[in-house]
C-alpha cells in the first residue's frame, strides 16, 4: 500500500499546529488514494508527542537521538533520505514554515524528488500530483502539476487546512526506528534560541489597532497614521515592511513572524493582505481596510472596505471622529 508521509513539526517540546493541519489534509488524500498515512517525528525524548500523533495517523515512525534535541536540517536530511528510500512514500508533506523552508528544497534536490512549495491545496490526479499555490503575494492563484515521479514532496501553507482529529482516533502503531546518525552534524550547529527584545508596547493587549503597511510609502507619513490612532484611542501596529524599514519597532508587527492580535477594531491602512499578515489579525472583531487596489486580498477578510487613497481617508476620518468627540463632550 502506498504511503503518505507527514513530517511532524515541533519546537521546545510542543507540536506545532501545522502538523495537525497537514495530518488532516493528508488523511483526506490517503482515503482517496487508498494509501496509508504515516506521521514522522524526529527528536529527543518525544515518545509522548508520538502518542499524540498516533491519534491522527495509522502509523507513526519515531526516531529519537540526543543529536535531534533541536531542529537541524542536515541531520533531518540524513534521516529522511533513509526513510524515504526505504518506504518509497508517494507523497511527503512538510510545513511551509521556517522548518520546511530550511529542509524541503535541499532534501528534494538530494533525492531528485519533485517539490512544490507553499501549497494551499494538493491532490493526486491519477499518479500525478497537482497543486494549488499562489504568486505575487497572493494576488494570483496557480494550478501546477509535478513531473511524474515515484515520490512527490510538498510544503504546505500554515492555517490553510482546519485540523480535525479523526473520530474514532486513528490509534496508530508507533514504530521506533534507531537513529542512523553516527556523528554530530558539524557543518551546521544549533547554538541557541534568541528571544525578541522585550517590547515597550503590547499590541496583543490593545482593544483597537490601526495597522499600517507598505501603502504609507514614506516615513514622513507615519505621524499622520499615529495621529489617527491617537484620535481613535488605538495603538499603531503594522505589517512586515514597516518593521523592515525601521519605521516601527518589531513588537508592533502583526503576522506569522510577529504577533497574533484579536482587537475589537483593526483598521488596515495600505496593507494588501499577504497571508502572513492576515494570519495575525483575521480574528479581530471588526476589520476595516483601506486600499487602492480593489483586488487586494485584505478585502476578503475585512468587514468594511474602502477602495481609495489612504491619504484622502485618514485626515477625513480623523476630523469626523474629532467632531463626534467634541459633540459628545
Amino acid at each position: 500500500m502506498a504511503k503518505i508521509f507527514v513530517l511532524a513539526e515541533h519546537r521546545q517540546g510542543q507540536i506545532r499546529d501545522i502538523t495537525y493541519e497537514m495530518l488532516t489534509k493528508a488523511r483526506e488524500i490517503a482515503e482517496k488514494t487508498n494509501s496509508e498515512l504515516t506521521a514522522i517525528i524526529l527528536g529527543n525524548n518525544i515518545a509522548e508527542q508520538a502518542k499524540t500523533l498516533a491519534e491522527y495517523a495509522k502509523t507513526v515512525i519515531l526516531v529519537q537521538d540526543p543529536r535531534l534535541e533541536n531542529f537541524n536540517s542536515e541531520a533531518y536530511k540524513k534521516i529522511l533520505t533513509k526513510l524515504i528510500t526505504e518506504h518509497k512514500p508517494s507523497l511527503v508533506m512538510m510545513g511551509h514554515t521556517s522548518y520546511g523552508i530550511e529542509l524541503a528544497p535541499r532534501l528534494a534536490a538530494a533525492l531528485n524528488t519533485p517539490l512544490a512549495t507553499d501549497c494551499i491545496d494538493l491532490a493526486f490526479e491519477g499518479d500525478t500530483l497537482t497543486v494549488t499555490r499562489q504568486m505575487y503575494g497572493g494576488k494570483v492563484n496557480v494550478k501546477a502539476t509535478a513531473r511524474k515521479a515515484e515520490t512527490y514532496m510538498a510544503t504546505i501553507r500554515q492555517a490553510t487546512f482546519t485540523p480535525q482529529k479523526p473520530e474514532p482516533p486513528a490509534n496508530g502503531q508507533i514504530t521506533e526506528t534507531p537513529s542512523p546518525l553516527t556523528e554530530e552534524t558539524t557543518e551546521k550547529r544549533f547554538l541557541q534560541y534568541v528571544l525578541p527584545p522585550p517590547g515597550g508596547v503590547d499590541i496583543t493587549a490593545a482593544e483597537k489597532l490601526v495597522g499600517v503597511g507598505r501603502g504609507v510609502k514614506d516615513q514622513a507619513n507615519m505621524p499622520i497614521m499615529e495621529e489617527l490612532a491617537k484620535t481613535l484611542g488605538a495603538v499603531l501596529a503594522c505589517s512586515r515592511p514597516i518593521v523592515d524599514k525601521g519605521w516601527l519597532p518589531s513588537d508592533r508587527q502583526v503576522g506569522s513572524s510577529g504577533k497574533t492580535v484579536k482587537p475589537k477594531l483593526y483598521i488596515a491602512l495600505g496593507i494588501s493582505g499577504a497571508f502572513q499578515h492576515v494570519l495575525g489579525m483575521k480574528s479581530s472583531d471588526l476589520i476595516i481596510a483601506v486600499n487602492k487596489d480593489p483586488k487586494a486580498p485584505i478585502f476578503s477578510f475585512a468587514n468594511y472596505g474602502i477602495i481609495e487613497d489612504l491619504f484622502k481617508i485618514v485626515p477625513s476620518l480623523k476630523n469626523k471622529v474629532n467632531e463626534f468627540k467634541t459633540q459628545k463632550a
Partner: protein, 262 residues
C-alpha cells in the same frame, strides 16, 4: 571574502492591479514596474557590507532577458564588482529546480566564500532556489537569515522562526544563506554610482556556455509546471463604503459609534 549574490528582476506588484494574460500562464507585464526582487536587495546590501568590512569581491548573477540588466546595473552601482547575466530562450519556464541548475552550472566555476540569495522572490514565492543550489554545490546553508556574523572559516547566523523567535546557528564556510527582509537597510544609489556602473561590463552566458543541455532547463528540466493562473475565488467580500472621502469618513464614524468603539 568573495561573495556571490543571486538576484532576480521582478515586477513590483504589491500595490498594482494584476491581470492574467491570454495564455493563462502568466500575468500581463505591460504597465508594471520591474526592479530587483525585494529580498535580493537585502542580500546584495549584505554582500556589499561584508566586502566593505573584510575586503574581497561581490559578483551579482541573474537569469533573464536584456531588460534584467537594469537590476544588474543597480547591483554594480551599489558596490558589486562583477555582473553575470545568464540568458537563453531555453531558460524560460524554469522552476526553482531548473533555476538552481542554471545558477549552479555557473557558480561552480567561480571562487566564492559565501553565496547570498533572497529568501524568496516576490513573483513566484517558491523560497526554494537557495537550498537546492546549496545541495548541488555541496555546501551548508541557512534560510530566512536575519543576522550574519563572520569569523574565520565559520559564520554565526540568526534564522527567523516564528512569533519573533530566532535561532542562532554556527555554519562552516563556504556556505549559502538566503536572506530575510529587514537584515539591514539597503542604501540608496547615487547618480554618480549609476553613471559609473553604466560603464562596467556585464558578462553574458548562454545555455551552451553553462555546459547544460536543453533537457536540464526550462519546462523540460523542471519539477513543477504551471498549468494555469487564475484570480483567487472570493469567498467573502467586505462591504464597500463609497462616496467622497468625507462621506466615507462619516459612514465609518457612524459604524464606530454604533459599535461603541469611539
Amino acid at each position: 571574502m568573495d561573495v556571490v549574490v543571486c538576484v532576480k528582476h521582478v515586477p513590483e506588484t504589491a500595490e498594482a492591479e494584476l491581470k492574467i494574460d491570454a495564455s493563462g500562464k502568466t500575468i500581463e507585464k505591460t504597465g508594471l514596474v520591474f526592479d530587483i526582487n525585494e529580498w535580493d536587495d537585502y542580500a546584495l546590501e549584505e554582500a556589499v557590507r561584508i566586502k566593505e568590512k573584510q575586503g574581497g569581491t561581490v559578483t551579482a548573477i541573474t537569469i533573464g532577458t536584456q531588460d534584467t540588466e537594469s537590476t544588474l546595473r543597480k547591483c554594480l552601482a551599489r558596490g558589486a564588482d562583477t555582473a553575470i547575466r545568464l540568458t537563453d530562450p531555453k531558460f524560460e519556464n524554469s522552476d526553482a529546480y531548473a533555476t538552481a541548475k542554471i545558477l549552479h552550472a555557473t557558480i561552480k566555476t567561480l571562487h566564492y566564500d559565501l553565496i547570498l540569495t533572497g529568501m524568496q522572490a516576490g513573483d513566484d514565492g517558491n523560497a526554494a532556489v537557495g537550498p537546492i543550489l546549496a545541495e548541488m554545490l555541496g555546501i551548508p546553508h541557512a534560510t530566512m537569515v536575519k543576522k550574519i556574523e563572520l569569523a574565520t572559516g565559520t559564520a554565526k547566523v540568526n534564522r527567523e522562526l516564528e512569533g519573533g523567535l530566532e535561532e542562532q546557528l554556527e555554519i562552516k564556510l563556504p556556505a549559502l544563506f538566503s536572506v530575510q527582509t529587514g537584515i539591514n537597510e539597503p542604501r540608496y544609489v547615487s547618480i554618480m554610482g549609476i553613471r559609473k556602473a553604466m560603464q562596467k561590463e556585464i558578462k553574458i552566458m548562454t545555455l551552451a556556455e553553462t555546459g547544460l543541455t536543453e533537457n536540464d532547463v526550462g519546462m523540460a528540466g523542471s519539477w513543477i509546471n504551471i498549468q494555469k493562473l487564475y484570480v483567487p475565488p472570493v469567498e467573502k467580500q467586505a462591504e464597500f463604503l463609497k462616496g467622497t472621502p468625507d462621506e466615507i469618513a462619516a459612514k465609518l464614524t457612524d459604524i464606530l459609534k454604533s459599535r461603541g468603539l469611539i
